[in-house]
Protein backbone atom coordinates (compact mmCIF):
# COMPACT_ATOMS: atom_id res chain seq x y z
CA UNK A 1 0.00 0.00 0.00
CA UNK A 2 2.65 2.42 1.05
CA UNK A 3 4.64 1.64 -2.11
CA UNK A 4 1.75 1.99 -4.55
CA UNK A 5 0.47 5.39 -3.56
CA UNK A 6 3.47 7.52 -4.46
CA UNK A 7 3.83 5.88 -7.89
CA UNK A 8 0.17 6.44 -8.68
CA UNK A 9 0.48 10.09 -7.80
CA UNK A 10 3.51 10.52 -10.02
CA UNK A 11 1.81 8.79 -12.94
CA UNK A 12 -1.21 11.05 -12.74
CA UNK A 13 0.88 14.16 -12.97
CA UNK A 14 2.81 12.82 -15.97
CA UNK A 15 -0.32 11.90 -17.92
CA UNK A 16 -1.77 15.32 -17.41
CA UNK A 17 -5.04 13.81 -16.27
CA UNK A 18 -6.15 16.78 -14.26
CA UNK A 19 -5.94 19.57 -16.83
CA UNK A 20 -7.94 17.43 -19.24
CA UNK A 21 -10.70 16.98 -16.73
CA UNK A 22 -10.73 20.72 -16.09
CA UNK A 23 -11.13 21.58 -19.75
CA UNK A 24 -14.14 19.34 -19.98
CA UNK A 25 -15.73 21.00 -17.00
CA UNK A 26 -15.30 24.42 -18.56
CA UNK A 27 -16.94 23.35 -21.79
CA UNK A 28 -19.94 21.98 -20.00
CA UNK A 29 -20.33 25.11 -17.92
CA UNK A 30 -22.24 27.02 -20.60
CA UNK A 31 -24.04 29.74 -18.61
CA UNK A 32 -20.79 31.54 -17.93
CA UNK A 33 -19.71 31.38 -21.59
CA UNK A 34 -23.05 32.39 -23.01
CA UNK A 35 -22.49 36.13 -22.79
CA UNK A 36 -19.20 35.95 -24.63
CA UNK A 37 -20.09 33.40 -27.25
CA UNK A 38 -23.25 35.25 -28.19
CA UNK A 39 -21.32 38.11 -29.78
CA UNK A 40 -18.64 35.83 -31.24
CA UNK A 41 -15.78 38.09 -30.37
CA UNK A 42 -12.70 36.47 -31.81
CA UNK A 43 -10.74 39.33 -33.29
CA UNK A 44 -8.82 41.89 -31.27
CA UNK A 45 -9.24 45.62 -31.48
CA UNK A 46 -10.24 46.62 -35.04
CA UNK A 47 -8.22 49.84 -34.77
CA UNK A 48 -4.94 48.34 -33.62
CA UNK A 49 -2.52 46.67 -35.96
CA UNK A 50 -0.78 47.64 -39.17
CA UNK A 51 -3.81 47.66 -41.46
CA UNK A 52 -6.15 49.36 -39.02
CA UNK A 53 -8.29 52.20 -40.37
CA UNK A 54 -7.64 55.66 -39.04
CA UNK A 55 -10.31 57.02 -36.73
CA UNK A 56 -11.57 60.22 -38.28
CA UNK A 57 -14.70 62.25 -37.61
CA UNK A 58 -15.16 62.71 -41.35
CA UNK A 59 -15.34 58.99 -42.02
CA UNK A 60 -19.00 58.58 -41.19
CA UNK A 61 -19.33 55.19 -42.80
CA UNK A 62 -16.70 53.81 -40.43
CA UNK A 63 -18.09 55.49 -37.33
CA UNK A 64 -21.59 54.32 -38.16
CA UNK A 65 -20.57 50.78 -37.32
CA UNK A 66 -19.67 51.67 -33.76
CA UNK A 67 -23.00 53.22 -32.97
CA UNK A 68 -26.24 51.52 -31.98
CA UNK A 69 -29.47 51.62 -33.93
CA UNK A 70 -30.42 54.67 -31.90
CA UNK A 71 -27.16 56.48 -32.45
CA UNK A 72 -25.58 55.63 -29.11
CA UNK A 73 -21.88 54.82 -28.97
CA UNK A 74 -21.42 51.08 -28.56
CA UNK A 75 -19.68 49.87 -25.41
CA UNK A 76 -16.28 48.31 -25.81
CA UNK A 77 -17.38 44.85 -24.78
CA UNK A 78 -19.60 44.68 -27.85
CA UNK A 79 -17.27 46.26 -30.40
CA UNK A 80 -13.98 44.87 -29.09
CA UNK A 81 -12.23 48.22 -29.46
CA UNK A 82 -9.32 48.71 -27.07
CA UNK A 83 -9.51 51.39 -24.39
CA UNK A 84 -7.34 54.01 -26.04
CA UNK A 85 -8.99 53.65 -29.42
CA UNK A 86 -12.43 53.70 -27.83
CA UNK A 87 -11.63 57.14 -26.42
CA UNK A 88 -10.49 58.32 -29.85
CA UNK A 89 -13.58 56.80 -31.40
CA UNK A 90 -15.86 58.52 -28.90
CA UNK A 91 -14.45 61.98 -29.66
CA UNK A 92 -14.64 61.28 -33.38
CA UNK A 93 -18.30 60.31 -33.10
CA UNK A 94 -19.02 63.39 -31.00
CA UNK A 95 -17.35 65.61 -33.60
CA UNK A 96 -19.33 63.99 -36.37
CA UNK A 97 -22.47 64.71 -34.38
CA UNK A 98 -21.52 68.35 -34.04
CA UNK A 99 -21.29 68.63 -37.81
CA UNK A 100 -24.65 66.90 -38.23
CA UNK A 101 -22.93 64.08 -40.08
CA UNK A 102 -24.37 61.68 -37.51
CA UNK A 103 -27.47 61.96 -35.36
CA UNK A 104 -27.25 62.54 -31.62
CA UNK A 105 -30.09 60.15 -30.98
CA UNK A 106 -33.28 58.74 -32.39
CA UNK A 107 -33.53 58.18 -36.08
CA UNK A 108 -30.97 56.48 -38.24
CA UNK A 109 -28.64 58.48 -40.38
CA UNK A 110 -30.36 58.79 -43.79
CA UNK A 111 -32.47 55.78 -42.86
CA UNK A 112 -29.48 53.54 -43.20
CA UNK A 113 -30.17 49.95 -42.12
CA UNK A 114 -28.97 48.97 -38.65
CA UNK A 115 -25.65 47.26 -38.11
CA UNK A 116 -25.97 43.71 -39.35
CA UNK A 117 -23.69 41.17 -40.89
CA UNK A 118 -24.99 42.27 -44.29
CA UNK A 119 -24.18 45.96 -43.78
CA UNK A 120 -20.76 45.11 -42.45
CA UNK A 121 -20.03 43.13 -45.59
CA UNK A 122 -21.03 46.06 -47.79
CA UNK A 123 -18.39 48.31 -46.35
CA UNK A 124 -15.27 48.01 -48.53
CA UNK A 125 -15.33 50.47 -51.40
CA UNK A 126 -19.07 50.65 -51.50
CA UNK A 127 -21.01 49.40 -54.46
CA UNK A 128 -22.80 51.85 -56.77
CA UNK A 129 -26.14 50.59 -55.52
CA UNK A 130 -25.28 51.57 -51.97
CA UNK A 131 -26.06 55.23 -52.37
CA UNK A 132 -29.45 54.42 -53.73
CA UNK A 133 -30.34 52.29 -50.73
CA UNK A 134 -29.68 55.22 -48.45
CA UNK A 135 -32.12 57.51 -50.26
CA UNK A 136 -35.59 56.14 -49.33
CA UNK A 137 -35.69 57.99 -46.00
CA UNK A 138 -34.76 61.23 -47.71
CA UNK A 139 -37.26 60.96 -50.56
CA UNK A 140 -40.53 61.54 -48.68
CA UNK A 141 -38.99 64.71 -47.35
CA UNK A 142 -38.15 65.97 -50.82
CA UNK A 143 -41.50 64.94 -52.21
CA UNK A 144 -43.12 67.20 -49.63
CA UNK A 145 -41.03 70.10 -50.79
Amino acid sequence: MAMENPTKGRKRREDGDRPERDRFANDRYTPKLLGKSYFQRKKGCPFSGPKAPKIDYKDVRLLQRYVSEYGKILPRHLSGVCAGKQRELATAIKRARMLALMPFAGKLDFGRPPRTAATMAQRPGGRPGMNRSSTPAATPETAAE
Binding site: K58, V60, L99, T135
Partner: protein, 118 residues
Protein backbone atom coordinates in the same frame (compact mmCIF):
# COMPACT_ATOMS: atom_id res chain seq x y z
CA UNK B 1 1.63 78.13 -36.13
CA UNK B 2 -0.19 74.87 -36.07
CA UNK B 3 -2.43 72.86 -38.31
CA UNK B 4 -6.17 73.03 -38.13
CA UNK B 5 -9.13 71.60 -39.92
CA UNK B 6 -12.13 73.78 -40.36
CA UNK B 7 -15.48 72.52 -41.57
CA UNK B 8 -18.41 74.86 -41.83
CA UNK B 9 -21.97 74.49 -43.00
CA UNK B 10 -23.62 77.23 -45.05
CA UNK B 11 -27.39 77.43 -44.98
CA UNK B 12 -29.05 75.93 -48.05
CA UNK B 13 -31.50 78.70 -48.95
CA UNK B 14 -28.68 80.94 -50.10
CA UNK B 15 -27.44 81.08 -53.71
CA UNK B 16 -24.58 78.68 -54.47
CA UNK B 17 -22.24 81.58 -55.14
CA UNK B 18 -22.66 82.63 -51.52
CA UNK B 19 -20.80 79.48 -50.45
CA UNK B 20 -17.84 80.66 -52.49
CA UNK B 21 -18.11 84.09 -50.91
CA UNK B 22 -17.97 82.66 -47.42
CA UNK B 23 -15.00 80.51 -48.39
CA UNK B 24 -13.36 83.56 -49.94
CA UNK B 25 -13.86 85.49 -46.73
CA UNK B 26 -12.26 82.69 -44.73
CA UNK B 27 -9.30 82.60 -47.11
CA UNK B 28 -8.90 86.36 -46.87
CA UNK B 29 -8.97 86.19 -43.12
CA UNK B 30 -6.33 83.47 -43.07
CA UNK B 31 -4.15 85.49 -45.42
CA UNK B 32 -4.48 88.56 -43.22
CA UNK B 33 -3.48 86.50 -40.18
CA UNK B 34 -0.40 85.34 -42.09
CA UNK B 35 -1.67 81.80 -42.13
CA UNK B 36 -1.93 79.46 -45.06
CA UNK B 37 -4.78 77.54 -46.62
CA UNK B 38 -3.39 74.14 -47.50
CA UNK B 39 -6.47 72.36 -48.69
CA UNK B 40 -10.06 73.08 -49.56
CA UNK B 41 -12.88 70.70 -50.28
CA UNK B 42 -16.47 71.27 -51.21
CA UNK B 43 -18.59 68.46 -49.90
CA UNK B 44 -21.59 70.10 -51.47
CA UNK B 45 -25.18 70.04 -50.35
CA UNK B 46 -25.74 67.34 -47.78
CA UNK B 47 -28.70 66.27 -45.76
CA UNK B 48 -28.12 67.07 -42.10
CA UNK B 49 -28.53 64.26 -39.59
CA UNK B 50 -30.74 66.58 -37.56
CA UNK B 51 -32.14 70.06 -38.23
CA UNK B 52 -29.91 73.03 -37.40
CA UNK B 53 -31.70 76.37 -37.12
CA UNK B 54 -34.65 74.77 -38.90
CA UNK B 55 -32.53 73.78 -41.91
CA UNK B 56 -32.47 70.17 -43.00
CA UNK B 57 -29.60 70.52 -45.48
CA UNK B 58 -26.48 72.51 -45.80
CA UNK B 59 -23.46 73.23 -47.98
CA UNK B 60 -20.40 71.70 -46.36
CA UNK B 61 -16.97 73.19 -46.89
CA UNK B 62 -13.77 71.74 -45.50
CA UNK B 63 -10.56 73.73 -45.17
CA UNK B 64 -7.11 72.66 -43.98
CA UNK B 65 -5.24 75.54 -42.37
CA UNK B 66 -1.84 76.41 -40.99
CA UNK B 67 -2.42 79.27 -38.64
CA UNK B 68 -1.89 80.84 -35.24
CA UNK B 69 -4.13 79.67 -32.43
CA UNK B 70 -5.18 83.22 -31.55
CA UNK B 71 -6.13 83.89 -35.14
CA UNK B 72 -8.23 80.75 -35.15
CA UNK B 73 -10.23 82.15 -32.27
CA UNK B 74 -10.90 85.32 -34.25
CA UNK B 75 -11.86 83.26 -37.28
CA UNK B 76 -14.29 81.27 -35.17
CA UNK B 77 -15.86 84.47 -33.91
CA UNK B 78 -16.32 85.66 -37.49
CA UNK B 79 -18.04 82.40 -38.39
CA UNK B 80 -20.21 82.65 -35.30
CA UNK B 81 -21.36 86.13 -36.31
CA UNK B 82 -21.98 85.18 -39.91
CA UNK B 83 -25.62 84.62 -40.75
CA UNK B 84 -24.86 82.25 -43.60
CA UNK B 85 -22.82 79.81 -41.54
CA UNK B 86 -25.09 77.64 -39.43
CA UNK B 87 -22.41 75.40 -37.93
CA UNK B 88 -18.64 75.16 -37.89
CA UNK B 89 -16.00 72.95 -36.32
CA UNK B 90 -12.30 73.59 -35.97
CA UNK B 91 -10.03 70.76 -34.95
CA UNK B 92 -6.30 70.95 -34.26
CA UNK B 93 -4.49 68.15 -36.07
CA UNK B 94 -0.99 66.74 -36.06
CA UNK B 95 -0.61 66.36 -39.78
CA UNK B 96 -2.64 67.16 -42.83
CA UNK B 97 -2.89 64.35 -45.33
CA UNK B 98 -2.69 65.39 -48.96
CA UNK B 99 -5.22 62.84 -50.03
CA UNK B 100 -8.87 63.78 -50.28
CA UNK B 101 -10.83 63.14 -47.11
CA UNK B 102 -13.07 60.14 -46.61
CA UNK B 103 -16.01 62.38 -47.28
CA UNK B 104 -14.84 63.03 -50.83
CA UNK B 105 -14.00 59.40 -51.40
CA UNK B 106 -17.23 57.94 -50.15
CA UNK B 107 -19.56 60.58 -51.32
CA UNK B 108 -23.21 59.98 -51.08
CA UNK B 109 -23.52 63.40 -52.56
CA UNK B 110 -24.76 62.00 -55.84
CA UNK B 111 -27.90 60.80 -54.12
CA UNK B 112 -28.42 64.08 -52.31
CA UNK B 113 -27.93 66.13 -55.44
CA UNK B 114 -30.44 63.93 -57.17
CA UNK B 115 -32.94 64.81 -54.46
CA UNK B 116 -32.20 68.47 -54.82
CA UNK B 117 -32.82 68.58 -58.56
CA UNK B 118 -36.34 67.23 -58.09
Amino acid sequence: MSLYELTFIVRPDVPTTQVETVLGRVQDFVKKAKGKVNKTEQWGLRTLAYPIKKHTRGYYTYVGLNMDGDAIRDLERQLELSDDVIRYLTVAIDELSKEPTQMMKAKNRAAVEEDFSL
